[in-house]
């Protein structure tokens, strides 16, 4: 292939790769799952303006530390039609353990168990905590950290200086493009394969 064509192909790929997500989520994301309470849940939630999947692990101290902020975000944006759904990305865990953990940390929103990491891998979540936001039709709108409180492991800012998930949701609610649609989350890795 001549270098001209190589360049042409690269260019085409870039154009088609709208928002940078086409390689990981080429089709609209749509699935039906059973949550830890035994209820059937459609993802993304069709009647909501946006669905936020928050990936967590019960023994990840970083995702646990975010519990109050996750609850605040769920409350603050519920009135704007945003739904928050938790996803426990853990292979050695069960629904009873997830219910117990959710109760202890005061989570009131629906939660699903992602014990085969199928959901994580489908939506491209790689660590806990990580937020992935979809439109009701399954278009990926944001994926990444909740905020930048953790600069690295053990490097915690006194206050976050960027609240990326809130910024994304503010834009979505206002009908604007998400300013930074991908960020890098700091936390505990979600395994690439189930045990």
């Amino acid at each position: 292939m001549s270098s001209f064509y190589k360049r042409f192909f690269v260019l085409t790929a870039l154009i088609l790769n709208v928002g940078g997500f086409a390689h990981s989520a080429p089709l609209p994301f749509k699935t039906t799952v059973t949550d830890i309470a035994g209820k059937t849940l459609r993802l993304p939630q069709p009647a909501h303006k946006a669905t936020v999947l928050v990936f967590l692990a019960h023994d990840c101290p970083i995702s646990n530390a975010y519990a109050p902020e996750i609850t605040r975000i769920a409350t603050d944006y519920a009135k704007h039609g945003v739904s928050v759904v938790l996803a426990y990305a853990e292979s050695d865990f069960d629904a009873a353990g997830a219910r117990k953990h959710a109760r202890a940390y005061g989570y009131k929103m629906p939660a699903v168990l992602d014990d085969k990491y199928k959901l994580s891998h489908t939506v491209g979540a790689t660590v806990t905590p990580e937020a992935v936001v979809y439109s009701p039709t399954g278009t990926l709108l944001y994926r990444g950290r909740i905020d930048n409180r953790f600069a690295n492991y053990g490097k915690k800012r006194a206050q976050p200086s960027q609240r990326d998930l809130r910024a994304a949701l503010d834009a979505i609610v206002a009908g604007r493009p998400v300013p930074t649609p991908t960020t890098t989350a700091v936390g505990c890795f979600i395994p690439e394969k189930a045990n």
């Binding site: 023994d59 530390a65 292979s91 505990c188 890795f189």
Partner: protein
Amino acid sequence: MGAFISCVAASCAGQLPQPGFTEVAYTTAADPVKAEPAKAEPMGAEKVVTYNKDIAPIIYQNCSSCHRAGEVAPFTLLSYADAKKRAKQIALVTENRVMPPWKADEGAEKFADAHLLSMDEIARIRQWAATGAPEGNKADLPPAPKFAQGWQNGEPDAVFQPTEAYNLAAEGDDVYRCYVIPTDYTQDRYVSAMEVRPGNRAVVHHVIAYLDTSGKAREKDAADPGPGYTSFGGIGVTPAGSLGGWAPGLVPRLAAAGEGILLPKGSDIVLQVHYHKSGKPETDLTKIGVYFTKGAVDKRIRSMMVLNPLLRIPAGDANYTTSAQRTVRDDITVLSVTPHMHLLGKDMEVSAKLPDGDEKKLVHINDWDFNWQMIYGLKKPMKLPAGSQVNLTARYDNSTDNVLNPTNPPRTVTWGEQTTDEMCIAFLFYTVDSEHLTKGETAVKENGGIGGGALAGVSPALRQMAVRLFDKDGDGKLNEEERQAALDWWRKNGTPAAPNN
């Protein structure tokens, strides 16, 4: 370590027994025999790195003591399944040296409780994770490490705990809570070791046991609702000493025979617990066990500080360097060294220059982390003859690039107890070679406990300058009031042409 510091800031010279006022339980006389880490084989491209053969020995040796049920780490690392699930995480945190939390550049050859991975060990973990974290041959798996349950030195002679549990909120700033526990002993006693048993390891980050004989800690407790009182750096009163502390990974050890820490009669133990918040409401009731010395005590375990209370870190300076010196007056034996800075600290090197010109390195922290306030216990105590000079060099980052900088935009930072202030101290715990309490021979020379007050750790030239400027009563030395005035002036105005700053 804040209380020693509060003493410095409060210029409490003269209120304390001489020499030395602070002792620590972490001595180094008896280090339990640890299995030698597996010797690294040269890594050929064809070599398969497996959990059983290569990784388990590293994890057992360096991770499992905290990563097991009931201990401080958030998950266990005892089995293949534990490690495989987190292979990528383990590879990353060992590569970055975030884990194991060991900040000195020397390891087990020098220090007790060292957890310093070699480059080869890190490379093996990286290769193992990158090749799918294989388990390998069962026969290669070494026996699982055995850990003592409960008290590590057996049943203590006395156990102290607050009268009620403390309730911690789900989130917010870290909390430093001080619990005042009376001892009610009518005679002085000597302590060989103290062991901390954190009540709730999800939130207890580190613990220091101070001693108060003034009754002022009780007053603070009474004035603060709930169990104990809150105080960030020190305990807010001048302590009469310390029984030592605990941070994850440190193992309590009995002092060498004939050595002990003075627990003055009638002391209150002030247990300062540093809490991280976990994301949900938590409750904690931490207790300590005390082991008294058996038999006659010949030497007190004492402390000295090498410090620069005159540091002044300009706003935006990413590489502020400062130093401190102190001359040892007696032949002493150093047991441990404990560097202390706050959130702007980058690195610290502590070494000693002997009268014969020989240099001895005590400790070098090249990646200071406020979260890991370790006591670096020397496996082989270091002899320093009288006249040796202990030198400290420390660097700080007060720019916005330091994500831990608590002040944004940065401001000039000076000495103080708050998280937004800084400190520059190395605590050395030592015994005096000539001291023989059993023969009635007590060490009397001042080796730098707190005898020189707030200016004790600074260079002679700077001290002379302080005397020249602030000796109001003309007696050729600074009393407590004059010292405080000097300290206040310097903190406000910086150090003019300071040879030490």
